[in-house]
């Protein structure tokens, strides 16, 4: 490099880290395909009403249990509703609940993990024992308890699932923060008088983020699955609103008579969960510093 003496040298890498991450991700075929599929799902969720061939709740008892055909590519259910339309409309329900739930868990869980990991001592003890208590409840049971208190509906379902995942994020964040807080750059920053807030937001959180990002993707998979499970149990989305889990529950009684009732919503759940998981795996690879170096062509 031929910088003139005295000229400031940027210490930041030429490409921002996030763009580098995206580039690496693009070279991971599984993760890239998963990401694209998820993007497509998000688009389906946004344009659901336009995409669905008919209303999800249009009942036509005379046309019940029709097998997949041109008019109804996914067939019709026991009330003669178009299953394709319901699967499409169900996408929004699943993703909305998934994102909201993980958003709640991410915000609160990461906050708790940051505080616990950064300050340590009694704050750490108090917060993490609290998280241990929450963690000790079986997840679905805890969610059912929350729904029993708050009532059903998609907002409460998201809240219930979100609460269940708070301790997961708190633990992941804390572990990551513990590794970061003693790093030289943190101590250096502290020594020049940076406030705790600045330390946390500028140095600790960004550097502790990779595992949290991976956890987010994987938790989305679980959240979608949890929403389906709770709706299956009758506690999540309420009929007649289309939810994949609810459709699965309704289709269960018809499985040997009309496989398509349960098959298509089941596939939708399967694909969505799989994509979030594979994306999570891909992100893990990409964000791991060692792997990152390797994948980026070594050397730097």
């Amino acid at each position: 490099m031929t910088a003139e003496v005295g000229a400031p040298v940027s210490l930041r890498p030429a490409t921002p880290r996030w763009r580098e991450t995206l580039g690496l991700l693009a070279h991971n075929p599984t993760a890239a395909v998963s990401a694209l599929l998820l993007l497509a799902l998000v688009l389906v969720a946004i344009f659901d009403e336009t995409l669905a061939p008919q209303g999800p709740n249009e009942v036509d008892v005379a046309a019940r249990l029709e097998s997949p055909s041109g008019a109804h590519p996914f067939g019709t259910d026991d009330l003669g509703r178009d299953i394709l339309s319901r699967v499409v409309l169900g996408t929004g329900v699943s993703l909305r609940v998934g994102f909201l739930a993980v958003g709640i868990a991410l915000l609160i869980g990461t906050g708790i993990g940051l505080l616990a990991g950064f300050y340590g001592r009694w704050i750490d003890d108090a917060l993490m024992r609290l998280m241990d208590m929450l963690f000790a409840f079986p997840a679905v049971l805890l969610a059912i308890a929350v729904l029993a208190v708050r009532g059903t509906g998609w907002g409460n379902t998201a809240l219930a699932i979100g609460i269940v995942y708070i301790p997961v994020f708190a633990r992941v964040t804390r572990a990551s923060v513990l590794g970061v807080r003693e790093e030289v750059y943190v101590r250096a920053s502290r020594s020049v008088g940076a406030s705790d807030w600045r330390l946390l937001t500028r140095h600790v959180l960004p550097n502790a983020a990779p595992p949290i990002i991976v956890q987010t993707s994987i938790s989305l998979a679980f959240a979608v699955l949890a929403e389906a499970a709770l709706s299956f149990l009758g506690l999540g989305t309420q009929p007649p609103d289309p939810s994949w889990g609810l459709m699965l529950a309704e289709g269960r009684g018809f499985i040997d008579l009309a496989w398509w009732l349960a098959f298509f919503p089941g596939m939708a759940i399967f694909l969505t969960v799989l994509c979030f998981n594979l994306l999570g795996d891909g992100l893990r690879d990409v964000l791991d510093p060692k792997q990152r170096t390797l994948m980026a062509g070594g050397g730097r």
């Binding site: 709740n57 249009e58 009942v59 008892v61 005379a62 019940r64 249990l65 026991d78 009330l79 059903t152 009758g234 309420q238 009929p239 007649p240 269960r252 009684g253 018809f254 499985i255 040997d256 008579l257």
Partner: protein, 508 residues
């Protein structure tokens, strides 16, 4: 008729079964021998909530209790008229105010003690004094007295032509041994006079064993196990595999295909149950008759029945099913969306009008049917918000009047009074919707005391017409009883009141 509480009722009501019945005994035995081999395993959908016949209202409980307890009279399995059971004959005084029942000789309870009039007096007074769920059945009874060990006298405040139905339509009116409530924990123990004695009851099954000294002759099987299989598909599979020999938990959508299935014998018969939607008179605009009539006009009952029962139900705009003597052919509400819209407009309702509809997953057909109704009402600008609740919450809210509308059924009704009185009389115990029409009150009062059947029918026809026109209940359909058993099983009779009696059953 109904069973007790409404909901449950639905269920419960039903129950009644007969136990004993008519026929006297059959007997015998066959079986002797061997142990488990000669035990009938019946798959039922739910566990009894408790086994006190005077307290429970759950159909699941009465399925079991039907086989354990007896009543003074029982419905004939064929036509549901009242036949002798623990009472062999009865006489009514000329003024209709005194009924004298002669009790059967040689009847013993499962613990060996003799049955006599003191047991009847004790049982009836327990229901009356403790105001148990069936006490309304004794509302005209002033006293229950023994006249010697073999005779019981019921003194009434007014003639009660349906008294036999009131005391015999189901095992909620069972005769317990004197002092039973103090000697036993009746919620889990039983001591009846029926063909089977209660052996055990736990979270997976209830087991009964044959009572050898049963007054009608010992049952043919050694025992009955009621196994709880919630999922209809699983119950059916268990039957097809031979794990169970009988079930009433048949998925309606399978009825058609089971017709040609050799591994299962399927029977259906019209039941005496009815399902309905009820709107809250205390919540405007549902207090407006035009609004209720508009909603009634917008509902396609055929489609609702088809959706819920796959053809195994008959749409009906009144409560009483077609096979009954008291059936009244009255159907003013053929679906007419335009007229419905017009009525709503007349009533000054701005659409979309939102109506909460309470249903319960305890009866999945309510959830299914509600979705059909919701889509039909959408067309007239009524947005139905379906609320699926657990049954306990559902009942609480019904009792508290906290609903716009609900969907449920009444089961096991036998007498027209049971179909209409408690539900539509002003202030009636099951008039949760808050209906009040003095003309209906008067007719129901008249019907309850009119001794002649033809005249009674005329009175109840008039009452039904008013109730239907006012849409106190929005009647929907009468489902069939659907039961299946192993080919070759004999001695079992499917019944309109859904009483399940295994006294005479013989295994293949």
């Amino acid at each position: 008729m109904r069973a007790t509480r409404p909901l449950a009722l639905a269920v419960a009501g039903t129950l009644a079964l007969s136990a004993c019945g008519g026929g006297e005994s059959v007997d015998t035995g066959g079986g002797g021998g061997g142990g488990g081999d000669n035990t009938l395993v019946a798959a039922v959908s739910a566990q009894p909530d408790q086994l006190d016949p005077h307290v429970t209202t759950a159909y699941a409980s009465f399925q079991v209790l039907e086989n354990v307890y007896d009543t003074l009279v029982v419905p004939d399995p064929e036509d549901l008229t009242m036949q002798p059971s623990l009472a062999t004959e009865w006489k009514t005084s000329d003024d209709g105010l005194e009924w004298r029942f002669t009790l059967r000789d040689g009847v013993t309870f499962h613990d060996g003690s003799e049955f006599d009039s003191a047991d009847v007096v004790y049982s009836y007074n327990r229901i009356i004094d403790e105001e148990l769920s069936n006490s309304f059945r004794f509302q005209n009874v002033e006293s229950v007295a023994a006249d010697g060990p073999d005779t019981v006298v019921l003194t009434l405040s007014q003639p009660t032509p349906n008294l036999l139905e009131r005391i015999g339509s189901f095992k909620g009116m069972a005769i317990l041994p004197e002092g039973a409530a103090d000697d036993l924990d009746l919620t889990t123990e039983a001591n009846g006079t029926g063909p089977f004695r209660l052996e055990s009851s736990d979270a997976s099954s209830t087991v009964l064993t044959a009572y050898e000294d049963y007054w009608g002759g010992a049952p043919s099987v050694d025992g009955v196990e009621f196994r709880y299989i919630t999922e209809p598909a699983a119950a059916l599979t268990a039957l097809q595999n031979g794990e169970v020999q009988w079930t009433d938990n048949v998925p309606p959508q399978q009825i058609e295909s089971l017709g040609d299935d050799d591994s299962v014998e399927l029977e259906t018969t019209p039941s005496v149950d009815y399902w309905y939607l009820s709107m809250n008179y205390a919540r405007p605009p549902f207090d407006n008759r035009d609004v209720r009539r508009a909603i009634s006009l917008a509902v396609d009952r055929e489609a609702v029945a088809e959706a819920a029962w796959f053809g195994a139900a008959q749409a009906n705009q009144t409560a009483i099913p077609e096979d009954s003597f008291f059936y009244y052919d009255y159907a003013p509400f053929d679906r007419d969306v335009d007229q419905a819209r017009q009525l709503l407009q007349q009533a000054g309702v701005t659409t979309p009008l939102t109506m909460g509809l309470m249903v319960t997953d305890e009866y999945p057909e309510t959830v299914t049917a509600a979705q059909v109704i919701a889509s039909q009402l959408e067309e007239i600008g009524v947005t139905v918000e379906i609320e699926t609740l657990d049954f306990a919450t559902w009942l609480d809210r019904q009792g508290a009047g906290d609903f716009d509308a609900f969907y449920l059924g009444w089961l096991g009704n036998l007498d027209p009074a049971a179909y209409y009185q408690e539900q539509h009389q002003t202030g009636g115990p099951n008039n949760y919707q808050g209906y009040s029409n003095p003309q209906v009150d008067q007719l129901l009062q008249q019907g309850a005391t009119e001794p002649e059947d033809e005249a009674r029918k005329a009175i109840y026809d008039q009452a039904a017409q008013l109730i239907v026109d006012d849409v106190s209940y929005l009647y929907l359909y009468n489902p069939d009883v659907v039961q299946a058993w192993a080919p070759g099983l004999s001695g079992y009779q499917i019944r309109a009141d859904k009483a399940i009696n295994f006294e005479n059953v013989e295994l293949p």
